[in-house]
Amino acid sequence: MEIRFPSELSEGAFEEVLRQWTNILMGTPASYCAEESVDSYLRRVKGILDKDRIIFNLLDVRFAGLYEIAMTTILGEFTYYLTGCRVPTVLPRNILERSFMSFFGFFAHFPSWGKTDSGGSMPNDPRWKSRMMLPLKRIASSTHVGPVVHTLKTTRISTILSNVFHNEAKAASLAEIIVSELLQNIPEHSRRDVPGHGYCAIQVGKPTTPEPWRNAVEITVVDSGIGIRESVLSRYPELVRSMTTQQCIKRGFEAGWPDDGDKHRGGLILVARTIRNEFRGDMECRSVNAFIRTIGDSIISGDRSFFPGTQYRIILPYEV
């Protein structure tokens, strides 16, 4: 079974990749029932796909954004988990064609889930460091959160952020509110059968997506955990049981959850408000089978094909 990645792997195109992947799952006797627990669904699927080969064909990919690289990584890991085999991956032919992947740190994590027959060394050009702030970083436990936030507060990166936003407070908000809050959710949202981990990456400079974005800082945080609904369900079962994933995500970002003494449960609202009010930025949050997107003051939400966990893509524009 092969998943063919398109040549321009940007946001809309990646949903097409996930649809191919979901079709493979749907081809099994097990299909995802709406609002089913991620753990229970995966237990059913894992036995069916065991030892199957699912090939990732990235041969034609010429462009991929930060978020798409992170999603490919987490998709690869997840496929490895389901099939029990490293994912055979066909990479672009030569170093030049693979360079954008190196830019985001894709190859640092590829060996953990994939294998390839493509020859040649993986590119690692230090010149990219001046533009990339944080290449793909693995968050495997709560102890990994601090060092990532620390990196954002070093002189080099805090200077970059302060310069692009013309504001030291905004630079601090990005690290201590947005990144910190989202990263801390990763281990908390982990699945029982797999120790929780995810990835984050941050880029500043001219965006590498083909969309007509202004100059922006892009943040991506992805995990393959239990998702927002299931996480909140354990704390507010009576309230959440009747809600869909879409409703849960929307509520998490708009209204929050009852304050039962756990103050930090308002983290997502804080993130959303910071993105909107301080940065005039946009955000997309995808969780299991639904998504929410903020564009300015508008919120769009809808359904998505199944994929475990929660993934964020945040765009914080700045003026040059």
Partner: protein, 405 residues
């Protein structure tokens, strides 16, 4: 002297303070208070340290090595303990922060504390007091003025802050109730005097520069006297600083390095370059970490040339900060300087943990910062007393080669 406003007897005349590094109990998050998972455990540790203080004591949180404090940590740890302390649940005790860097968390902590309804007195690195978490601007100005000047009168505050008498009285009453200040009446003339509840002077004296005091004391213990070391073919030492003994404490090394690294913050180096000795590398790695810069090292050969370690390179036009543990003769730094210039990079400055030359080594063309300066016994071979006494010469440490002055 009895307070005039209310029944407030919360005068912190006791000089008991306990200074702690708030990251000490976080084995992995050594510079960031961003943990949500361990919040309750950390809170309990702080409570036990607070309650171990005598009545009137102050728990001082040293933020000098803290890079970030996020919302969850404030909500989970800091705000609850501040609330309990303000309510008197831990007796007549206080919590104060020192070495607080407003550049790192400019408004976030203040905003969070305001939203959670708690306050925290902090001193920045220049020892200026600042109360965080006070929403009302006039109230904040009053309390900060009292703490900055250590003593104020209502009339003076009225004049300085252009507030009317009623407003000042109501602010003072609120601040007394919340234990921020005390009001006393002078017995001679019945004048009301407003003072801080917390003994800021003692905190400034005992709490600030805690790291430097510790570092200096450890340096003294690491000096070997009556020895005979070859620093270069021409220079011998009868006193030698084994700084590596101090730098086995990783946290102290990081804190010391951050102090000097901060002085180059505006220079924003791309690379930190040092020599390949354990102490130099330990120190310089932390300096590089502070800046988020690349770390590279070089060996110094017998002819005084610096050779980069295999696999390391200096990119043209990059900004290089030279870092070293000890400057004794300046030879190592001279070799590194030559290397950087040969690679067509620029030098933002030189930093060292300790300068033992007694100020004899100078780099007039470059910004030069060090934590501590000493003068240890160094002699030209011709006048070396240890040579005259025929003491065994040790030269196993790869130190600076000779630079005849």
């Amino acid at each position: 002297m009895a307070p005039v406003y209310g029944e407030n007897k919360n005068i912190n005349n006791d000089v008991s303070i306990s200074v702690i590094d708030p990251t000490d109990d976080l084995p992995n998050d050594y510079t960031t208070l961003v943990t949500r998972a361990e919040g309750e455990r950390i809170r309990q540790i702080w409570v036990s340290k607070l309650e171990a203080l005598p009545d009137g004591g102050t728990l001082v949180l040293d933020f000098s090595s803290v890079f970030a404090i996020d919302h969850s940590f404030v909500a989970e740890v800091l705000a609850p303990i501040l609330r309990e302390t303000a309510n008197g649940e831990h007796g007549n005790r206080w919590i104060v922060g020192i070495n607080f860097d407003q550049r790192r968390s400019p408004t976030i902590l203040n905003t969070d504390l305001i939203s959670m309804g708690v306050n925290l007195l902090v001193f920045d690195k220049t020892e200026n007091p600042l109360w965080l978490g006070i929403a009302d601007e006039a109230t904040q100005r009053v309390v900060n003025m009292v703490y900055a000047n250590n003593k104020e009168t209502p009339e003076h505050l009225q004049l300085l802050l252009s507030l009317d008498r009623k407003r000042i009285s109501s602010i003072i009453e609120e601040l007394v109730k919340s234990r921020h200040i005390v009001v006393e009446t002078t017995p001679d003339d019945g004048l009301k005097v407003i003072k801080p509840s917390i003994d800021s002077n003692t905190i400034r004296t005992k709490g600030m520069n805690n790291i430097l005091h510790e570092f200096r004391s450890r340096i003294r213990d690491a000096i070997e006297k009556g020895c005979h070391f070859e620093l270069s073919p021409d220079i011998h030492a009868t006193e030698y600083l084994h700084l590596i003994q101090v730098f086995t404490d990783a946290r102290l090394t990081a804190k010391v390095a951050y102090i000097v690294a901060e002085r180059f913050r505006k220079d924003n180096p791309d690379i930190v370059l040092t020599i390949t000795t354990p102490a130099a590398m330990a120190f310089s790695l932390c300096v590089a970490d502070y800046h988020g810069a690349s770390f590279i090292c070089a060996d110094i050969n017998d002819t005084g040339d610096a050779i980069l370690h295999p696999g390391m390179s200096i990119i043209r036009d990059s900004k290089v900060l030279l870092a070293i543990d000890v400057i004794a003769t300046g030879w190592d730094i001279s070799a590194l300087l030559k290397l950087v210039l040969k690679e067509h990079a620029s030098i933002v400055g030189i930093c060292a943990a300790v300068d033992v030359s007694g100020g004899k080594v100078r780099f007039p063309e470059y910004k030069y910062e060090r934590i501590e300066s000493l003068q240890l016994g160094q002699y030209y071979v011709s006048s070396c007393p240890a040579c005259r006494e025929k003491l065994l010469l040790r030269s196993s440490i790869p130190v600076s080669r000779g630079m005849v002055r």
